[in-house]
């Protein structure tokens, strides 16, 4: 009896696996056909590293690279805003940067606003090329009247990888 039960289970699992593959194959065919013929089709593989650059270009947000970011951080002319979550900021951030997590921007804006005037140069950054919090923060600041902001696209990852100095903890 136990053997018959085991055999039935093995058979059931085999059937289940086969049918899972049938469904996945059908979805693969549908997805392929849809992306070949659907008007809203997208490229199969996209370089998302350029996504923020493309969006920033469209919104006319000025971008800075690592070298420019180093000059800005050294000169002390800009208020540097870290758009990452506060925990990430605490673990390490650009020297002199102020935490303004985009996730709770309205909550923190009141404090940060005291540091800013409409003409104040600002540099925003987040974790790196695969985040858009700094881009969204830049747009938010613009809506609040702070239009003199640039975005460091390489973000904290590029900064740290290049061996640039970092600070830890809250100010």
């Amino acid at each position: 009896m136990a053997s018959a039960g085991t055999s039935a289970n093995v058979s059931y699992m085999r059937e289940l696996t086969a049918r899972v593959f049938v469904i996945l194959a059908a979805a693969l065919v549908c997805g392929t056909l849809a992306n070949l013929f659907f008007p809203g089709r997208i490229v199969w593989v996209e370089n998302w590293a350029n996504y923020i650059e493309a969006k920033a270009g469209k919104e006319k947000v000025a971008l800075v690279d690592l070298k420019q970011a180093q000059l800005i951080a050294g000169a002390g002319t800009h208020v540097i805003l870290d758009a990452r979550p506060a925990d990430d900021y605490r673990r390490g951030h650009l020297p002199g940067a102020v935490s303004l997590p985009y996730a709770s921007v309205e909550q923190h804006m009141e404090d940060v606003q005291k540091l800013l005037t409409p003409a104040q140069p600002i540099m925003t950054y987040c974790s790196g090329e695969n985040c858009d919090e700094s881009f969204l923060l830049t747009l938010y600041l613009r809506r609040q009247g702070f239009t003199n902001a640039v975005l460091f696209t390489g973000g904290f990852t590029q900064w740290k990888t290049a061996g640039c100095p970092i600070e830890e903890g809250m100010p």
Binding site: S11, V45, P101, A103
Partner: protein, 146 residues
């Protein structure tokens, strides 16, 4: 119809409706969905668009397959697997403090942000998938060999 069958069909129809509703907006706006996937900051870039192209179709085909007795179990199994992945992805980004829209039922970046409520919701959907899988009709067991 027995009570078990009624529960089984109620689960199947609910799960089917949920996943059809989730897949259609993604199929109609694949690039917007790709952006939603990108914003999770989890996948290597070459996989973002591939996931955005195929995932909604897996959801839709599996949702419709729930309505056929022969494929009901396999479809519930796939949807359960997807829900485990979705829940893990949302929970991970919540822990990382990444504030993004879910991309679950709407691909708009302005849609509601992810929260622990979405994790609870997905856990409830998982329970639905398990019930769908467990309740009859199930695949007929193989006939014993003579």
């Amino acid at each position: 119809m027995t009570r078990r069958r009624i529960i089984g069909w109620a689960c199947r129809l609910s799960l089917c409706g949920i996943f059809v509703a989730a897949s259609v907006p993604k199929i109609l706006a694949p690039h917007d969905f790709a952006v939603a996937v990108f914003r999770y900051q989890m996948l290597p870039y070459p996989l973002v668009n591939l996931l955005a192209i195929f995932l909604p179709w897996i959801e839709l085909v599996a949702a419709l397959a729930l309505l056929t007795p022969a494929y009901k179990d396999a479809a519930a199994f796939i949807l359960l697997g997807l829900l485990v992945v979705f829940t893990a992805a949302i929970a991970t980004d919540l822990v990382r403090g990444i504030n993004i829209s879910c991309g679950c039922f709407s691909v708009s970046a302005e849609a509601g942000r992810i929260g622990w409520l979405e994790v609870l919701r997905d856990l409830a959907f998982m329970a639905l998938a398990v019930l769908t899988w467990k309740f009859p009709p199930r695949l007929a067991p193989a006939k014993p060999r003579s």
